[in-house]
């Protein structure tokens, strides 16, 4: 750890001391100490999963006092937020502007800003006062929106301004912005920076979280880098530059976390050519903007990229369950295929382990057995009958070979640990005997031991000749497991790297759009 000697004497509004937060099997934050100066903009950066969001959830009361170790001193006193009392955090003057906006779309800007604290006159709401107060607030902070405008007619940028106004209406002294620019255009981002400067002039303290590090320069006074739940460094922005930050974010050490496979990729099995796809709900929005790559038998192809770079959209489109393909082709084993649904994909031999096992992978209330067999019932069933013993037999075989630890196959999935749940998801997709297995962030939220087992399993599968596409948010995982790495940025392939040439710095540069390499696919 680097010694930070700034901010020891300044006016500290928020002093986070030795905070540790553990989840079953995972340490999300480990001995984190950060001091935030009053009236400054403090940047926090780190890779996905570095612990940024956990920290913010502690500050906002989602994880209450007593749920973590360590102390937080706010305005000279210990901050003790009660269970799930986000309200209390707001009353204390700490407000969060979330990644996902939390406005009521059918209401106006003014109604949202004063939601829950409407000025009352007699038995009714004093609408004139509400809108006048809103206007006053908006003018004071130079926020360019109409109090009477309906939220649903506003763009994301203006919605965010409304969120900020809402926090200011609560007299927020500390404003936390969690990835505020992830959905903004360049012009909107520029506007947001202006607003933040105005807030600073008014003495509001901002904590600015992002993984788009270039945004820090010119706005943040100091920056803290988190990695694997630890504070790597806190330094004044003028001491830092992009390269230094990237180095801090990715770290250098690569330990023996990844088992080495001894596989030899074979012939090409899947080819994706110039694939374009649009959002099925809004056909104007292109989510995959021309991606070309090929995939070999027995190979693990890593796809890296930041959140929102179109990784998940790309693989879901190949799996037939998301984007509508407007251009391009997918070829499997030399034949062009048309996949209209997950069912088609499975018939062709493409399986997908979805990104979020709880919302997309499992029916949590159902048994392990029923989850494993769900996509594979065709194997045991005529139209009239499921052969339940054949089903049990086959499911048991997978449960054993993947070493799922469960008291029996009849227990509901929500009683298992994250790692075992993930094995159930993988089992269910292996039973269909895929040629191509797509794994979207297969080790998210599971502990290190379970990760290792999943890695070993992936190596085994590749050695058996299955072609694997692995999306991952962890660079070390991408580098440790892949044969080649495709980096995505804004719906496009920013570059394809052979593992020998790939470094965390190169991937990060491609993923953040600092560098670009459209040389196409290397084989």
């Amino acid at each position: 750890m680097m010694n930070d000697n700034i901010a020891t004497d300044g006016d500290i509004i928020l002093d986070i001391k030795n905070v540790t937060k553990q989840f079953p099997g995972v340490t999300a934050l480990s001995d984190v100490s950060i001091r935030i100066q009053r009236g400054k903009i403090h940047g926090i950066c780190g890779e996905n999963g570095a612990g940024k969001s956990t920290l913010m959830k502690i500050l906002s009361g989602v994880y209450p006092w007593g749920d973590y170790e360590g102390t937080i001193i706010y305005e000279g006193e210990e901050l003790r937020l009660e269970n799930r009392s986000i309200r209390q955090a707001i009353e204390e003057g700490i407000a969060i502007v979330y990644q996902e906006l939390t406005l009521v779309p059918s209401m106006t800007v003014g109604e949202n800003v004063f939601l829950g604290k409407e000025p009352v006159e007699g038995a009714g709401i004093n609408w004139d006062k509400l809108y006048a107060d809103t206007q006053q607030l908006l003018t004071a902070y130079n926020l360019d929106i109409q109090p009477q405008a309906a939220i649903k007619h506003l763009g994301v940028g203006k919605m965010q301004m409304t969120e900020i106004a809402k926090a200011l209406a609560e007299n927020a002294r500390v404003l936390i912005l969690d990835e505020p620019t992830s959905a903004l255009t360049e012009a909107e981002t520029e506007k947001l920076m202006e607003i933040l400067r105005t807030l600073k002039e008014h003495g509001v303290t901002c904590i600015y979280i992002t993984h788009k590090i270039e945004e820090f320069f010119g706005i943040a006074d100091s920056i803290t880098v988190l990695r694997d739940g630890k504070v790597i460094t806190t330094q004044p922005t003028e001491n830092l530059n992009r390269e230094k930050l990237v180095n801090y974010m990715v770290g250098r050490e690569m330990t023996e976390r990844f088992p080495k496979g001894k596989r030899e990729p074979g012939e090409v099995i899947l080819q994706v050519e110039n694939l374009h796809a649009v959002d099925p709900e809004k056909s104007g929005r292109e989510v995959v903007k021309g991606v070309t790559f090929d995939l070999h038998k027995g190979e693990i192809l890593g796809i890296a990229g930041l959140m929102g770079s179109g990784r998940t959209e790309l693989v879901m489109t190949i799996f037939g369950e998301y984007g509508r393909i407007t251009k391009g082709a997918v070829t499997l084993a030399g034949q062009e295929i048309e996949v209209k649904s997950s069912h088609d994909a499975m018939l062709e031999g493409i399986s997908l382990v979805p990104e979020d096992r709880k919302t997309h992978g499992l029916v949590l209330m159902q048994s392990v057995l029923k989850n494993i067999s769900l996509p594979n019932l065709d194997q045991f069933a005529s139209w009239l009958r499921i052969d339940d013993l054949a089903e049990l037999d086959a499911s048991l075989e997978f449960a054993q070979s993947l070493d799922i630890k469960a008291p029996s196959l009849h227990v509901p999935c929500d009683s298992l640990s994250g790692g075992n749940q993930q094995k159930v998801v993988i089992s269910k997709w292996l039973m269909s005997k895929p040629k191509v297995l797509i794994m979207d962030d297969p080790t998210r939220g599971i502990d290190v031991g379970a990760k290792y087992e999943i890695y070993k399993l992936m190596n085994d599968l590749a050695e058996q000749g299955i072609a694997i596409i692995m999306i991952s948010s962890e660079l070390e995982e991408v580098l440790g497991m892949s044969d080649r790495v495709m980096v995505m940025h804004e719906g496009r392939s920013a570059g394809m790297l052979n593992i020998a040439d790939a470094t965390q710095e190169k991937i990060m540069a491609l993923a953040t759009g600092i560098a670009n390499n459209h040389s196409g696919s290397a084989a």
């Binding site: 069912h343 499975m346 019932l377 013993l389 049990l392 037999d393 008291p407 029996s408």
Partner: protein
């Protein structure tokens, strides 16, 4: 892979305690039902469980029970059907209309043949209307609450059109037999014998097959005990109803429907998919389940069972009226919920719904025997429903 853990998974693959725990809710309501019977028997000095009343109790529950067992998959997939009462009512007036107005003109003196045709028309009507609603819900994506609320009003209008506001007689002997007939005692005993033989055959067959796959078997005495208890219940039931008039034909039809629906919900892909859709629609979709197709067939099946319920209704009351089926949809939904079906989807059993329906009917008849006025019957029904669900929520939280 680890041999020990293999053994542990395999060993408990058919763990009985596990299954008992999973079905605790079902046992709880069976106990509640028995408690209700004991209570009313005590209050009526035993009149409540006399063969005649016992026989009538089961007969009275049949019409709403047909609707309740169709409602289970509907609610399990996260939908609702408010039109079932009126659909059954519509089917009943259509059957009555054909019986009283058409056949007497076209095919007089062909009682049996015309009744068969009327029944087929009734079943087809229910099925087609179910299909239509299912199509709008599944493929045109209009929420089921709205489609079936509209359907309820439309069918109410259709009932008024068919009946022209009058009561149509449907008391022809061949039709009446469906919901009012009884089987001779010896036929009752033959059926009981067949069922008991099947129970034992099933038990031995399942043990043999499990053995072939190498699964550890539950202790023989446990399987035997379970089968003997079921066999005893069947024989006991036949014995009691034979003391009155014999097996009630509508109850026999209901029993067949219950077995068929239980089978469909547990042992077919269609049933499994329905539970998966209700449990997690996204996970089901990504698992290759054709959600629209499944929901379409769920409503088609519901329509068919409304057809069955409507035919039984016409036969049971002996005429088609403008009020036919009114309120039955809520009885059916209430029975499902009382029987443990979750309004959030994904959970619920056919057996539970039947017990729920039996509890509802038991309460109503019990209060009637005690000569308590109708107002109180509604009050008690409402309180029991809310209490039952509260108890479920409470104990789930505590577990």
């Amino acid at each position: 892979m680890n041999k020990d853990s293999n053994a542990s998974v395999k060993g408990v693959a058919s763990n009985l305690a596990e299954q008992l725990r999973a079905n605790i809710q079902t046992y709880a309501i069976v106990v509640a039902m028995i408690a209700i019977w004991v209570f009313f028997s005590a209050m009526t000095e035993g009149r409540y469980v006399k063969p005649q009343n016992f026989s009538n109790l089961f007969r009275q529950m049949t019409v709403t029970s047909f609707l309740a067992i169709g409602m289970v998959p509907v609610i399990v997939t996260g939908n609702i059907d408010l039109s079932v009462g009126k659909l059954a009512g519509f089917v009943s007036v259509v059957v009555a209309y054909f019986q009283a107005r058409i056949w007497t003109q076209v095919l007089p003196d062909q009682g049996l043949l015309t009744t068969v045709i009327s029944v087929l028309i009734g079943l087809t009507t229910g099925t087609l209307i179910g299909m239509l609603q299912g199509y709008v819900i599944a493929y045109l994506r209009v929420p089921s609450f709205i489609v079936t609320l509209g359907g309820m009003w439309i069918l109410n209008g259709a009932i008024l059109l068919v009946t022209e506001g009058k009561t149509i007689p449907a008391n022809q002997p061949a039709l009446s037999v469906i919901a009012q007939g009884y089987l001779p005692n010896y036929v009752g005993w033959i059926i009981a014998t067949i069922v008991v033989v099947l129970l034992f055959y099933n038990m031995f067959g399942s043990r043999r097959k499990k053995h072939q796959y190498g699964f550890e078997l539950a202790p023989f005495y446990l399987d035997l005990l379970k089968t003997v208890i079921f066999a005893g219940l069947v024989a006991g039931y036949v014995y009691v109803v034979n003391l009155y008039n014999g097996i009630q034909i509508p109850v026999l039809l209901l029993a067949i429907a219950v077995v068929a629906m239980s089978y469909i919900s547990n042992n077919t892909r269609f049933g499994r998919y329905a539970y998966a859709i209700g449990g997690n629609r996204e996970a089901a979709r990504l698992s290759g389940v054709n959600i629209r197709n499944n929901i379409f067939w769920v409503f088609t099946l519901m329509g068919f069972l409304c057809g069955v319920g409507g035919v039984a209704l016409a036969s049971y009351v002996g005429y088609g009226t403008i009020a036919a089926g009114a309120g039955y949809e809520l009885d059916a939904i209430g029975s499902c919920i009382l029987g443990g079906t979750s309004t959030l989807g994904g959970e619920g059993t056919i057996f539970g719904a039947i017990i729920g329906s039996l509890i509802m009917t038991s309460l109503t008849t019990g209060l009637q025997i005690l000569n308590i006025q109708a107002a109180w019957q509604y009050l008690v029904k409402g309180i029991v429903l809310v209490l039952a669900v509260f108890a479920d929520v409470y104990f789930k939280k505590r577990r």
